[in-house]
Amino acid sequence: MTSRVLIVDDDAANVEVLKRYLENTVDEIRGLTDSRQVERVFLDFKPDIMVLDLHMPQPDGLEVLRRLRSARLSLGFLPVIVVTADTGHVARNSSLILGADEFLTKPVDRDELVLRVRNLLHTRKLYLDAKEGRAVD
């Protein structure tokens, strides 16, 4: 199965760094700095996992989580990793409440990000396999 990751961050340099971190882990990467387009890109690109910044001009990361909630539910298990420079517990808990699967703070640890993405992609694969009734390897 091909794996696609969507990176949403208003800071272009950050998108670039995250892209580089994940280029050997996933098959396809799409970076997005304008969070207003996130719904359209989400439907268009059909990612398997999403890496999301919180503090962005409208809509911010929490609002993105809110807007994608129903789409994520309809797609089954679709993991979201929040990567933010906001280390506060309000940001962390709000993200988790709104359905984020992981919460990482900037500057992000490369290996941790890669491992978490890989694990979540594996879980997603198991979910999709189970859903399609295929035997698990």
Binding site: D10, D11, A13, N14, E16, V17, L18, R20, Y21, H55, M56, P57, Q58, P59, D60, E63, A85, D86, T87, G88, T105, K106, P107, V108, R110
Partner: protein, 737 residues
């Protein structure tokens, strides 16, 4: 008179008066009045029971004596023993009262008890002769000693009730009155037979003296009666009347006895006359049982009533009438009578002199009291009119009766105009309702004073905080007549409190903004660090071409620049605020500076279209070019940041009144005008909940500081959704020579 005490709150323009209910200026005191406390019983029951019994016994006694039941001997026995029993009852009753009262009063009752006991002893001796030994009682006998001793004892007793008069003249006046009464009565008695009795009596001189002692005792008793009644208090008339009635009854019986004995006609009629003693002693016995109508403090001084004053004159009048009668009847006066009349005349003259002295001293006293009162009133007036408190008399209907000048000054109104208005005129409706509520406990009487704070309306419609307290002034019946209220201006205190609260709120807000600032700064740092650590890591760990490495290095550099800018901003602001920043002011071509800044801004955003609209005059400003470039770059960066949809940004420059005016206008999200004032303060950022802009909020604070250091101004015209138009001014370079 003196018992009206005027205290004018506004002495210059009297608009009303404080009338003291009499407490401030008591009437000149009269000599202490006699009081006759008995057993201080509160109910009528014991008296009713005892008096019923006494009436039944007295009636039975009289009936027995009239109808001579059981024969002459039994009747005489009942007569003698009945009298002894009545006297014993009086002795016991008064004796009991004596044990229940202390001091003078106890002594008075003791004397009365002794008098009754003495009489009782005499009667027992009499009975022993008449009933026991069945012989005629000799005259004089031991019995007479008992009877006669009873009179002075009774007189002393009645006198002991009267408290010592406070002034000599009054004591002298009492003695004089007593002497006048005594002489007058003696004259009347002498003229109507006592003289004849004395003259025609054939007894021994000793017997004559003793026989005469009875009517003389009676005259003394009558004198005492007159004097005591004269000084009696209304609430005690009942008890005193019993006491004096009893003594009078005894005297009457004495006189009758003396007359009849002297005439030798004492017999069956005399026996009936004896009931006078029985009735008399019963009355004396009942006196202590008379209930106290009021509490002891009700026994206050009061003026002597006219009839009481006139009592001695009644005796003199009787003497005068007797004299007239003698003249008409063509009787001659014996020598003793003449002495008596002369004595009465002398005493009357003495009385007049005393009375004159008395009224003179009263006048002096009253003048002294009056001047004291006037001085005190003047002092009170001074205090009230210069008091730092507003003082008002408020009627029970909340109408203002009177105010002092300070009160009127507090409410900025003429004192005269305040009178007749109501408290409601100076309060709003809700506050008036609340104040009425606060007054309630005063009405009920559960408290003496109420106090509160009210926001009052002045006559000029401004407002003032007043702390006030009110006290109810009651009339003697206990009903509230009016309130006295005092007011204190607590406006300053209130505004200080409000300012303190506002200051605290602003400190709390600043504190919150500071912690937000710290988290924002840390956010900015972390975001920049992502690039720096990420790209450098990749150069280190991956196989990258030189071109790729250069690209990464450029990114790293950009983030490092960002961190540098942030730190510089923070340090700049600190330096400026601490007054450590110095401007390097020089003539600057403002348009060139603006053009340069616009070029750089254009490079940073492709979505925005920046238009320059410069004054052709080429303004040469007097400023620090580096700092001004910083300001313009910041305004342009804001314009770009706050118009996320792109659009036109207009940069203008105009020259006006020695200043260059630079404007940066965007078509972005705009700012609520309410926030525009705070925009240039440290840490402030304009945020809408749905729209978070990343930044530290230092930019405009630095802008303002730099512009103000140049002597210019910075401001913004904006509407939400309409974009913002930022302007600043800097002074132009003065044209040289």
């Amino acid at each position: 008179m003196l018992n009206e005490n005027r205290l004018e709150l506004t002495p210059k323009a009297p608009v009303g008066t404080f009338r003291s209910p009499g407490r401030l200026a008591p009437a000149p005191t009269l000599p202490a009045r006699p009081t006759v406390p008995g057993l201080e019983l509160r109910t009528w029951r014991p008296f009713a029971v005892a008096s019923s019994a006494a009436i039944v016994l007295a009636v039975a006694f009289i009936a027995w004596q009239v109808f001579r039941l059981g024969g002459e001997k039994v009747a005489i026995g009942v007569d003698d023993i009945g009298e002894a029993v009545a006297a014993l009852a009086a002795a016991l009753s008064c004796g009991y009262a004596a044990t229940r009262n202390r001091g003078r009063t106890g002594m008075a009752w003791a004397f009365l008890a002794a008098s009754a006991a003495s009489w009782c002893a005499g009667e027992i001796v009499w009975s022993v002769y008449e009933v026991g030994m069945n012989v005629a009682v000799p005259f004089p006998s031991a019995a007479d000693a008992g009877f006669l001793l009873a009179v002075p004892l009774a007189v002393v007793g009645v006198f002991a009730f009267t408290s010592a008069p406070g002034r000599l003249t009054t004591r002298g006046e009492a003695l004089l009155s007593g002497a006048i009464v005594a002489l007058s009565l003696l004259f009347v008695a002498w003229s109507f037979g006592l003289g004849r009795v004395y003259a025609t009596s054939a007894s021994t001189p000793a017997a004559q003296m003793i026989g005469l002692a009875y009517p003389l005792g009676d005259i003394i008793t009558a004198t005492v009666l007159v004097l005591a009644l004269r000084r009696a208090h209304r609430t005690e008339i009942g008890r005193l009347a019993l006491l004096l009635g009893g003594l009078a009854s005894n005297s009457l019986a004495d006189s009758g006895f003396a007359l009849l004995t002297a005439n030798g006609t004492y017999g069956a009629i005399g026996s009936v006359l004896d009931s006078g003693w029985v009735v008399g002693f019963f009355a004396i016995a009942l006196a202590p049982l008379w209930p106290s109508a009021r509490a002891p403090e009700a026994r206050k001084e009061g003026p002597i009533e006219l009839w009481q004053l006139a009592l001695p004159w009644a005796a003199v009048l009787a003497a005068a009438l007797t004299l007239v009668h003698q003249a008409i009847a063509d009787q001659t006066m014996d020598r003793f009578s003449m002495v008596l009349v002369g004595g009465i005349g002398i005493l009357l003259v003495g009385g007049q002199v005393l009375s004159h002295n008395d009224s003179l001293s009263l006048l002096v006293t009253s003048q002294r009291v009056e001047s004291q009162l006037a001085r005190r009133n003047a002092l009170l007036d001074e205090i009230i009119s210069h008091a730092p408190l507003g003082i008002a008399r408020v009627g029970t209907d909340m109408t203002i009766l009177d105010v002092n000048p300070r009160m009127a000054a507090l409410l900025r109104i003429d004192p005269g105009k305040m009178v007749g208005t109501t408290v409601a005129d100076y309060l709003n409706q809700d506050e008036f309702a609340r104040v009425s509520e606060v007054f309630h406990p005063l009405w009920v009487g559960s408290v003496d004073t109420v106090e509160s704070d009210s926001h009052a309306l002045r006559a000029d419609r401004t407002e003032v905080w007043l702390h006030w307290s009110a006290t109810g002034v009651r009339n003697p019946a206990g009903r509230i007549e009016y309130f006295i209220a005092m007011y204190e201006d607590t406006d300053a205190e209130h505004s200080a409190n409000e300012a303190a609260a506002a200051h605290l709120a602003s400190l709390e807000r600043l504190n919150r903004l500071k912690s937000e600032f710290v988290s924002l700064v840390s956010h900015e740092f972390r975001t920049a660090l992502v690039g720096i650590s990420g790209f450098s890591e990749m150069i280190r760990d991956s196989d990258v071409s030189v071109d790729e490495a250069k690209g990464y290095a450029a990114d790293i550099n950009k983030d490092a620049e960002r961190l540098n800018r942030l730190i510089n901003d923070m340090l700049d602001l600190d330096r400026i605020e601490a007054g450590r920043l110095t401007l390097r002011v020089q003539p600057v071509d403002l348009n060139a500076l603006l053009k340069d800044a616009v070029e750089r801004a254009r490079a940073s955003s492709s979505r925005h279209f920046i238009v320059c609209n410069f004054d052709a005059q080429q303004p040469i400003a007097s400023c620090d070019p580096d700092r001004l470039a910083q300001v313009v770059a910041n305004l342009l960066s804001n314009a770009i940041k706050y118009s996320p949809d792109g659009g036109e940004i207009t940069v203008t420059s105009t020259v006006r009144e020695g200043f260059a005016d630079v404007g940066v206008r965007d078509r972005g999200i705009g700012i609520d005008p309410a926030f525009a004032q705070r925009l240039f303060s440290r840490y402030e950022r304009y945020e809408q909940t749905s729209n978070k802009i990343i930044g530290t909020g230092l930019g405009l604070a630095i802008t303002r500081q730099i512009i103000e250091m140049h002597g210019g101004k910075v401001w913004v015209d904006s509407e939400p959704g309409e974009g913002s138009d930022f302007h600043f001014t800097v002074p132009l370079e003065l044209p040289r020579g």
